[in-house]
Each structure stands twice: as structure tokens, then as C-alpha cells.
Amino acid sequence: MAVEQTPAQIPAPAGAQSRIHNIGYRSYDGPRLGRAYARRSLYSQSLRGAYGLGRSVKSKVLPMVLFAVMCAPAAIMVAVTVATTAKKLPVEYTNYAIVMQAVIGLYVASQAPQAVSRDLRFKTVPLYFSRPIETADYVRAKFAALASALFLITAVPLVVLYVGALLAKLDFTDQTKGFLQGLVSVALLSLLFAGIGLVISAVTPRRGFGIAAVIAVLTISYGAVSTLQAIADAQGSGSAVPWIGLFSPITLIDGVQTAFLGGTSAYPGGVGPSTGEGVVFLLAALGVIAGCYGLLMRRYRKVGL
């Protein structure tokens, strides 16, 4: 043992000295996937995460249950329509999301904090930005992922209704028109809800608090608006009813689709905004979406450092 010589004890020639430290690491010279790829990955992972795919079984339960709850009434309605050979579906395409707003609210409240709060809490946001993505990429990917997830949960029941309506041999053009209008309306709703949900949950790193805050904003604003509308309607000032609807997300969507997408208003008194007023509603909805995007950008410029 004692006679064993280690390489270090051999007086090495000057050129070979560097070889001690060279343990064979090689630099990467293959293709680099770049910014667009990173953004796409972030989008698809966030979208999968919104339904618990690729996460633990426990976290799949809630989104899947909400998805099933969202689709079940549509399936039942279709079954009833086919069985009774009714002339039309029990609910309009545009009204479905309004009726099921509690489920949509719970979904966005549970999944929006999931998408952003954990990155904030574990301080992993700067790690994302050590990749070749920028603030805008992160915000856009998360925004698009949550909006897509919401679009899935709101559009699939419409597809069920549409297929059922065709199976029940309802008028094709009529149903297609209603279906497409419904799709446009839920697309707008998805963007709006995703924006609001993300802005609120990006503020707090605490998941539970984010959930409560999102649901509070959605329900309390709806509760307040519908209370005020009911009172305005009962007091005979019916012209004020649509304008009050501007102040909560779901009534905002209701107003837009009443004005442009042939929906019947769920407002008390059934009087929605006219086309002229509808422009204000549409601008308000788009403004809120853009505002949410701006706020998210501002927030992530700060926490991304």
C-alpha cells in the first residue's frame, strides 16, 4: 500500500497539468429549442396542471369532479329532449354558462391559485426567467393556459348539447347558429374569468387565501349586482337595470351576449342592454381583460427579479 503512487506525486510535465481537471465534460452544441418552445411547454404544462394531469391523484379529484358536474346537466337535458321529442332544448346555448356560474366560479377559484401561487410561494419564478423566456411569455402562457382550461370546461357541455340537439333532429341551422354564438360567449367568459382569477391569485402566495379571494370577488360582486338590479326593477327604474350589470363579471357577459349573441337576459325583468349599450358592455369586458393582462405584467416584472 505504501508503495502505491498517486498521479499527483509524479512530477508532471507542464502541458499535462491541465488534464487533471478535465473529467470529460463536454459543452452542448446541439440545436437549442429556444423561447417559443419554452413558452409552449409552459402553456401545455399549465393547461395539464389545471386538470391535475401529471400531478397527484388527489389534485385530479377536484377539477375532474367540477368538470363532471358541469357536463352532467347538459347530458340530462339532452336525454330529456331526445326522450320527449321536444321542439327545442330546455336551455339556450348562451344561457348554460350563466346557469352554471357557481361551478365555473369554483373551478377558476381552485385552479387560478394553483397556476401561479405555488411559483410565488416557493420562489421559483426567477428560475423560469433564467430560461430564455421573458415576463410577457410567462404571463401569456399562464393566461392562455387558464383561459383554455376554462374554455374546455364551458365549451364541452355546449358540444354535448349541440350533438344531442342534432340527434333529437332539431333544426340544423338554428342549432348551429346558437351553438356558435354560445362558443363565442364562453370564449369571452373564459378570457375574462381567467384574467380576474390570475390577477387576484398572483397577489398572494397563499393558495387558500387566493381561492377565497377569487370566489369572494365573483360571488359578492354578482350578489351585490343582482340585489341592486332586483331593487331597481321593483322600484320601476328598469332603465338602470342593464347599467348596474356592468359591475360584475357574469352579468357583464350576460349583457354582451344579450346585445350581440342573441341571448335572452337573465336580468330581473328580462331586459338586457340594447345594441348601443352592448358596445359599452363589450368594451368594458375587453378593457377588463386587457387591464388584467397589464396588471399581471406589472406584477411579474417585480417578482421575476
Binding site: 416557493f122 397563499r206 381561492i211 377565497a212 359578492i220 341592486l228
Partner: protein, 239 residues
């Protein structure tokens, strides 16, 4: 049974930093609406009862209850820092009881007080409407806080389940299925509120003895079970 240090820490967790402002936004909104309604309608007892019943007791009290009840223990279990609390020589039921007291206090402060103020603004406590709903909110605060504190120790999705109970069970099923109303904190609280004022505007589907018994049973059972749950808590990482 009551530990001031735990209480102080819980208060800080619930109301620290900007959280108190967010919690305060809800009651503020209620008062703003009350002012708006008073401006639109004038003092009307029926409207006052509708606003207080529909907005304050049915929506605001449960939401504040969920935030305070689950917020008192949920985040600590979620991020694992509850270990440092459990490692102290304190009885687990003591921790739960202290957190319950704090949660009740916060829920009452942020829901019952604004309910009373809104009631005064709406109709100046005509027919005792404001007092009735304030009493109902106070009673409901206790039961909600205990119930949601239990949820916080049982599940990591406590907030969602709490909200499902408060909004889907009480609001949706309660309005469709009469039987669901017997099992609703809101109706029990209304029964107590009804008894206090003897008015016709505040009514409940549950008789007072049933309501009182159920309220006490639910509160005590939930607190006891939460204490038991905390004794056997297995701390898990975040997925």
C-alpha cells in the same frame, strides 16, 4: 384552554400585512350597497330584510367564516410550519380552542358589525330587522368558524369544500330541497334571530329548540374532532 401566544400568532396570520384590508373590503362593500339601496328605495323594512338576508347572512358571513376559519389553521398545515407549533408543550385541543376563539372573533368583527351598521343605514333598525340579522350573524359566526376550522385540519382543499358547503349546499340546494334547509347553519342562525325579535320579516324553516341544539352540537363536535384530528396529524409536503 386559551393560550395568548397562539392567539397572537393566529391574529397576525389572519390580519397581518394587507390581509386585514382585503377582509375589510367585503364589509365595506356591504355598507356601500346599503347606502346605495337607501338612496334608491328609501327606508323600507322588506328591502332591508332582503338585502341583509340575501347578501349579508347568505353570502358575506359564510365567506368571511371560510376565510377566517380555514385561514386560522390551513396555511400553517399547508406549508408545514404547524410542526413548530405542535412541537411546543401545548395540548392540541388547546391550540384548536385558541384558534377557534380567534376565528370566531375575526368572523364576528368582520361580518356581524357591518351587518348591524348596514341594517341601521337601510331602515334605522325598523321592526328590529338590523338587530335580528346581527344576532343571526353572531350565532352563525360561531358555528361557521368551528365548522371551517375542522375542515382546515381535515383537508388541504378546505377553502373549496367550505365554499361548496356555503354557496352550493346552503344557497342552491337550500332553495331547491326543503330538507337541506334543516341542515344549514344559516337557517339555525335565522331561527335564533327570529326568536330575538319576534318579527315576521326574519323567518326560519327550523324551530328554535332544534336550531339551538344543532348549533351547539355542531360547534362542540367540530371543535372536539378538530382537536382529535390535530393529535394524529401527519404533516405532508406540498404534493
Amino acid at each position: 384552554m386559551y393560550d395568548p401566544t397562539v392567539a397572537r400568532l393566529t391574529y397576525r396570520a389572519l390580519l397581518g400585512r394587507r390581509r386585514a384590508l382585503i377582509l375589510g373590503a367585503l364589509p365595506l362593500l356591504l355598507i356601500v350597497i346599503a347606502v346605495a339601496v337607501r338612496g334608491l328605495v328609501g327606508a323600507d323594512d322588506q328591502t332591508a330584510a332582503d338585502v341583509l338576508g340575501g347578501l349579508a347572512l347568505a353570502t358575506m358571513v359564510p365567506i368571511i367564516g371560510v376565510i377566517a376559519g380555514t385561514g386560522a389553521i390551513g396555511p400553517e398545515i399547508d406549508d408545514g410550519s404547524v410542526i413548530y407549533l405542535l412541537a411546543k408543550p401545548l395540548k392540541r385541543p388547546t391550540i384548536i380552542f385558541t384558534k377557534l376563539i380567534v376565528a370566531i372573533g375575526v368572523t364576528m368583527a368582520f361580518s356581524a358589525v357591518p351587518t348591524f351598521i348596514a341594517g341601521l343605514i337601510l331602515n334605522g333598525n325598523g321592526q328590529q330587522v338590523a338587530v335580528a340579522y346581527t344576532v343571526a350573524a353572531l350565532v352563525a359566526s360561531i358555528a361557521y368558524a368551528a365548522l371551517f376550522l375542522l375542515l382546515g385540519t381535515v383537508s388541504r382543499h378546505a377553502v373549496v369544500f367550505g365554499l361548496v358547503y356555503a354557496l352550493v349546499w346552503e344557497a342552491l340546494f337550500g332553495s331547491l330541497v326543503a330538507g337541506a334547509r334543516t341542515l344549514s347553519v344559516q337557517q339555525w342562525a335565522l331561527a335564533v334571530g327570529h326568536k330575538v325579535t319576534d318579527g315576521d320579516l326574519v323567518t326560519s324553516d327550523v324551530s328554535l329548540p332544534t336550531a339551538t341544539v344543532l348549533l351547539i352540537v355542531v360547534t362542540v363536535l367540530a371543535t372536539w374532532f378538530a382537536g382529535q384530528k390535530l393529535r394524529t396529524l401527519t404533516p405532508t409536503g406540498d404534493e
